[in-house]
Amino acid sequence: MSVSTPSRRRLRNLRMPTSYADDLRLLPSRWLRVSVAVGVLFILSLPFWTPEFFVNESVWNRLWVTIGIFTIGALGLNLLTGFTGQVSLGHAFFIGAGSYASAQFGAEWGVPLAGWLLMCAAVGAIVGTVIGPFALRLRGDYLVIITFGLVIIGQHLFSNWDSVTGGGSGVNFQAPTTLVPGVDFAEITLFGHEFSRDEGFIYLVWLVALISIVLVKNIVRTRPGRAFQAVRDRDLAAEVIGVSLFRYKVGAFAISSALAAVAGGLFGAHAQFVEPTQFSIFLSIEYVAIIIIGGLGTVFGTVLGAVFFELLPEVVNKGLEFYVPPFVKDPNDPLATKGVITVDNLEQMLRGLVIVLFLMFEPRGLAAIWRRVKTYFLTWPFSY
């Protein structure tokens, strides 16, 4: 078997990085460039079709808006937790801050789209910079507890700062969606297809998501990214070799919460209504689940995790159409005479179970599974 012929080697170079310089590239191989293009085309095509056998059109569109929003927020958390090693349960607070910022700046003050998105990011960055120094003093378990407390205090703030947040009953608002005059994401017409509001939001959200992905990818493959990873692996050692812990820990918090706030802003603008109960600790846990399932410290994994975690309930719903286990209440039977648990509960339990199972059996997440499968096919018939 002459596998290592020049042509074979060239083929492999198309698909896998072969040098350190490749590792630093944004898109190391032609294979990756093609995949990214396919991914972008897939997103662009989303408003035009619906897999009717799976979900109906409105669910399908909303699903992808949600996935996009979660991708943006989870990128921020992965930068903080996956790359810098600062475990935070405070993400829900930053998301909430962004949501209320979009209500205040977008709806109340009428700042145009790009403006209020940037202001959300600024609010997030400022809040993150204030919280960040905690990480200098606390690490590990203690940081987890304090960020948990932050969410509790944040929810209290959201329920009581009535003039901005509308208090416990929440706030209804319409944030502007016009990027430049003539381009309103709520009313796009493309190729004779009039977009619904959700379909327009797919483009808006994924445009922001793409910008965030490129941003985070660029951060992690350059000097700050290496500093973040040095802090993650051993913060004392990093400081000794000259990495400023203050700059990089606080910086990681600032960037992470800026991304979270942008996600929150988009979430609020899309839902047109936010209330404090949405920003509970369980939202933080969802984000943590996404980066665990996707893969800590990978950008691609974050996207995979968001897709997986948000698709899961829909897949469960679909499965229940064919078979309802005896312990689940039949969603089509309003009286639900038999069965103990509702579909919502089943989904929530499955989400918890997925977190636990991934941590137990595949702590490096979907990204690791993907890499393993890819390596298997690329190196076939050899195992390495």
């Binding site: 937790t81 090693g85 475990v87 349960l89 905690f134 003093r137 606390l138 590990g140 378990d141 203690y142 987890v144 507890i145 304090i146 948990f148 407390g149 932050l150 509790i152 205090i153 209290h156 329920s159 009581n160 051993r234 004392l236 050692a237 000794v240 600790i281 369980f282 846990i285 943590v288 689940a289 665990i292 103990v340 648990i341 509702t342 509960n345 089943l346 929530q348 339990m349 989400r351 918890g352 179970l353 977190i355 636990v356 941590l359 137990m360 702590p363």
Partner: protein, 299 residues
Amino acid sequence: MGKFLDLTANGVATGMIYALIALGFVIIYKATHVLNFAQGGLVALGAYFTYNASVTWGLPFPLACVLGVLMTAALGVVVERLVLQRMVGQPVFAVIMVTIGLLFMMNAFIEAVWGAERLNQGDPWGLQTVRIGDVALEHRELWAMGTALVILAAFFAFFRFSPLGVAMRATAVDQEAATAQGISPRMIFALSWGIAGGVGAVAGIFLTTGSRAAEPAVGLIALVAFPAIILGGLDSPIGAVVGGIIIGITQNLTGGYINTNFEDVVGTTFDRVMPYVVMIVILLVRPYGLFGTKEVQRI
């Protein structure tokens, strides 16, 4: 002054319940170095198991309590065996997140089986209050204080004098040396989860009887024990008790003075948040809690 004494006494009663929850955290943390978010779920499940035994099955309340505590303790052991045992040696982050995933599941399980509405357990302690001067205490609070004192005394005696308790302390100090003495760490880990489940269930019962009711949010309310263990230090059982009582008093005084007088500034339910504010301040001044062991870092 009368109001102050009354609020403080009631705060001590609440604080004793927090002390029980905090003790559960600390026992697990000392033995396994796991920060167990699922403790909140165990507290809630203990309450619901008891509810199920006393209301649904119609058992007498004391029997229902014993059953609830035993079932929760058994659940703690099962969870440890099935899940946490496999996480030994994994990074801290992963282990914490596993317990959070468990909390997520327990929460869903409770809503699934018992629904999200508030369930009243009735008033097994009686509704009367006892007055001593200005201090008025409900019977439930007296029972809570008494039970907590007995349980805490029993545990400190257990750790101090019984071979098993000494084995647990030995494992906490030096696992390898304990293993060399013939102590099985696996057994100790499972035992600590069982104890944590048991004391958590007792706390859960007191948190959901009398004027209160069982609701899924109990799992999160129970996490107010975090400020308590931060105050006391993650690995100090005495600290857990002291911290729990301090947090209970703080919460009650906040409710009595700040909530009512500064409602416009801090909002109506500030007493629920106050423990966390105290916690953050304490952590900024002393990053390892008031009585916790300072970690020594090396490169």
